[in-house]
């Protein structure tokens, strides 16, 4: 490269040729470069090298084929020239060119420094998260930074610059207002701040908080307005959400059916808010207690409890004040009208939602007054039902679907009848524990049938007591209305052991009476057949013989007639005897005493009779007669007695018949059908027969026969 001369260099510089190019031409080095030293780079505390455009440059340093000349002015370095090392041999030329360019170097350095500063601020402008815009006095956008461009919804500054700012940043509905407001600010355009919400060019919603300030020229005239903005879209959104959330919480708090009341850490009832003196409690609480707010706020919560003798309420509140949720507490809370309601509540630590930022205690609970009342009523009802169950004569027993007796599931009648202690009954399998083994299967089937929905029916079964006694029971099993998760069945039973025994006894006695009757008839037939009939047959045969002998042998016929007469008399006597045995005519015609007199007159031993004269009912007279007759027959047959006494008297509406003898004793009513038959006969009239007999001797047979009426 050919060099230019120094005068040419000066001319070129004056003509505005860039300094580096001019120096390159003067020194004939195309690769020449210039760097300037700046004492304090913008935004830092250090100095540094920049190129003529103001961009940061590396520290100038010699390299193979290149040398560096530092240029100073008044003892301070201002620039460094990187040149071809070949020029080192022409040191004077280098110095002369540098000197000639001295002023130009200093000017160029100032420009580079300005450029570096502008670049710094541009960087700042475009990297701050704030929006920056410059508008002129007509509202036309002159510049925007990257963030403002982004919020406006554009990619290129040119899309925005030159347009009215309200077209870019203001919602169409507010533009007219903004234009008017802007016009009103002229000519001072005093600094101000405002917030605007708009939909940008991309359709995104934004909220921007702006601050504006005027920029004046050297004459104090406003030349531009700078606006700095912050995009507060998200913050606003969050604020709205919080507000809504608070609204929801407040609504929930207010309208929850649970009672809620906020207490300070000291346990006093709080106001609602710093600027709301009403009580910090929800509607449920206010309605439950009905105290005026001013009587609640500041009052210790335990003050409105009926009592906190054991300090449980106070402890619960203290627990919550330390940040722990308390246990549940049951308290009666006093109302303003003096009544009280029962609540179950806990104390919960909460943060103060108001601006005061204290830790509070929230008492949160449910009104259980009705439930308590119901429980009490249930308990009373239960006690009532228990009283009924325990005083019922029937046996009652509760079993589950598996046939297991529930705990304390039997009434007192059940315990007594089955001879168990109350604690021994619950948990037993009913059929296994209380039923006679051969009937257990049937009972189990019956209970299973009821559990499966068959209609209840009365059944007779044999139950067994703890001591092994067998009881006849008439029982039913009925499903109960379901009161908890279990289905229970009630077994109701009546002890029919005694009834059954009486029934059996009655049946046996009837059978015996029928048999006795049958036997009496057979005896009667036999007696007639063997006795009177035989005699009459013989008589008949004899009379035939008499007839056939009358002519041939009158003597023999006469003898036959005589013996026939004897036969006939005996037949008559036997018939009379029989008739008396069937029913003595004297008893019917004249009554008990004459009949007994006749009876004892035929006894083979002396009998002493004491009996009333009066007539009694036919049944009673007959029963009394046969008691004496049978007793005397027994005495004659077995007692080997020498005498007997028959006493008949009335006593408390009862006829007493007593036959005693001085015989050998040892009579046993369970043997011998005679006494048993008498006993049945007396029992038909609701009477009793007793036999007192000892081995030492003597027997007393006594019948007590109630007199009708």
């Amino acid at each position: 490269m050919s060099r230019v001369s120094i005068p040419q260099l000066v001319v070129a510089l004056e003509e505005g040729t860039p300094l580096r190019d001019a120096l390159a031409g003067a020194l004939g080095d195309d690769a020449l470069s210039v760097a300037y030293w700046i004492d304090r780079r913008q935004g830092t505390v250090r100095g540094g090298w920049v190129d003529p455009h103001g961009h940061a440059a590396p520290d100038p340093a010699a390299a193979p084929g290149r040398s560096v000349k530092l240029v100073e002015h008044e003892g301070e370095r201002i620039a460094a020239i990187d040149y071809d090392s070949a020029l080192d041999e022409e040191g004077e030329v280098l110095d002369a060119v540098t000197a000639a360019a001295g002023l130009a170097l200093r000017n160029d350095r100032l420009r580079a420094e300005l450029r570096a500063e502008v670049e710094f601020w541009n960087t700042v402008n475009n990297t701050v998260p704030s929006l920056l815009a410059t508008i002129d006095k007509d509202g036309v956008i002159r510049n925007v930074n990257a963030r403002a461009l982004q919020v406006a919804g554009y990619d290129e500054k040119d899309d925005v610059i030159g347009r009215d700012y309200w077209d870019v940043f203001i919602d169409p509905s507010e533009r007219a207002d903004v234009v008017a407001r802007f016009a009103a600010l002229a000519p001072d355009f005093a600094a101000g701040e405002y917030e605007n919400a708009f939909v940008n060019a991309r359709g995104e919603h934004h909220v921007v908080y702006w601050r504006t300030a005027p920029i004046h020229d050297e004459n104090g005239e406003v030349i531009a307005i700078v606006s700095g903005g912050a995009d507060i879209t998200l913050r606003r959104k969050r604020e709205r959400e919080l507000e809504r959330e608070r609204d929801v919480q407040t609504t929930v708090f207010e309208f929850m059916p649970s009672i809620m009341v906020a207490l300070g850490p000291d346990g006093t009832i709080r106001d609602r808010d710093a600027d709301n003196p009403s009580v910090g409690a929800n509607r449920a609480f206010r309605q439950a207690v009905r105290w005026p707010d001013e009587e609640l706020v500041g009052r210790p919560f335990v003050d409105i409890l009926v009592e906190d003798d054991d300090g449980r309420a106070a402890r619960a509140i203290a627990t919550a004040a330390t940040g722990e949720t308390s246990q549940e507490v049951e308290s009666e809370i006093l109302s303003a009208d003096g009544s009280s309601r029962v609540f179950v509540w806990s104390a919960i630590p909460i943060a103060d939602v108001t601006s005061r930022m204290e830790h509070l205690v929230l008492v949160c609970g449910a009104d259980i007054t009705e439930r308590k009342q119901l429980e009490l009523e249930n308990e009373l009802e239960r006690a009532f039902l228990n009283a009924i169950a325990n005083n019922a004569p029937s046996l009652l027993c509760l079993i589950d679907a598996d046939g297991v007796v529930t705990d304390r599931g039997a009434n007192i009648a059940f315990e007594h009848a089955l001879e168990y202690d109350p604690a021994e009954i619950g948990g037993q399998v009913f059929a296994d524990a209380f039923v006679e083994p051969s009937e257990q299967e049937d009972v189990r089937d019956a209970i299973a049938g009821i559990a499966a929905g068959e209609p209840p029916a009365e059944r007779d079964s044999t139950w067994v007591t703890k001591n092994g006694r067998e009881l006849s029971m008439a029982w039913t099993c009925t499903p109960l209305p379901q009161i908890d998760e279990r289905t229970l069945f009630l077994i109701t039973a009546i002890d029919i052991t005694e009834r059954k025994r009486v029934d059996d006894e009655l049946r046996a006695s009837r059978t015996r009476l029928v048999r006795a009757e049958e036997s009496a008839r057979r005896g009667l037939e036999r007696n007639l057949h063997d006795g009177a009939q035989q005699r009459l047959v013989a008589l008949s045969v004899a009379l035939r013989l008499v007839e056939s002998r009358l002519g041939s042998d009158p003597d023999a016929a006469g003898q036959l007639l005589a013996s026939a007469q004897v036969e006939l008399a005996q037949a008559l006597e036997e018939l009379r005897e029989l008739a008396r045995g069937i029913h003595p005519a004297v008893l019917t015609d004249r009554g008990l005493r004459p009949a007994l007199e006749t009876l004892i007159s035929r006894a083979p031993f002396p009998v002493e009779l004491v009996a009333p004269e009066e007539r009694l009912s036919t049944d009673v007279e007959a029963a009394a007669y046969y008691v004496v007759a049978e007793a005397l027959t027994n005495v004659a047959k077995y007692a080997n007695a020498t005498s007997a006494d028959v006493d008949v008297w009335q006593e408390d509406g009862t006829l007493v018949v007593s036959v005693s003898d001085d015989g050998v004793g040892g009579a046993n009513p369970s043997k011998g059908s005679g006494l048993r038959g008498l006993s049945d006969r007396v029992a038909v009239l609701d009477g009793t027969l007793s036999v007192t007999s000892s081995a030492r001797g003597g027997t007393i047979i006594r019948a007590d026969i109630p007199l009708p009426g």
Binding site: H529, R535, V537, A538, S540, V541, A542, R544, L545
Partner: protein, 118 residues
């Protein structure tokens, strides 16, 4: 030669009357029994021409005795049942028995017996 007879009845008075009647009418009474058990062996021993057999014996019924005799070489053919009751009191037992006849005790006579044996 007179016919021989065996009287079986538990009532002595009847046995006496029957003997008197039969003997008066030419029968020879060869034996009297009061019960049914020994009838068969007595009949074998005595071989009477006629057996007057009471139906109601204390140990067994006359029908059973009659059946036992029938089983023993058909000796029931000589049996005449007697009773103080009427034949109809026994239903058709008299009818189906193997006895050769029935006489109510009150109507007993040599003629009736002879008529039945014919």
């Amino acid at each position: 030669m007179s016919l021989t007879a065996l009287i079986v009845d538990d009532h002595p008075s009847f046995r006496a009357s029957a003997r008197a009647v039969l003997e008066a009418e030419g029968f020879e009474v060869v034996g009297e029994l009061a019960e049914g058990a020994s009838v068969v062996e007595t009949v074998i021993a005595l071989d009477p021409d006629v057996v007057l057999l009471d139906i109601q014996l204390p140990d067994m019924s006359g029908f059973d005795v009659c059946a036992a005799l029938d089983a023993c070489n058909g000796r029931s053919g000589k049996v005449i049942l007697v009773s103080s009751r009427d034949a109809s009191d026994y239903g058709d037992l008299v009818e189906i028995s193997c006895a050769c006849g029935f006489v109510p005790k009150g109507e007993l006579s040599g003629e009736t017996i002879a008529a039945l044996l014919r």
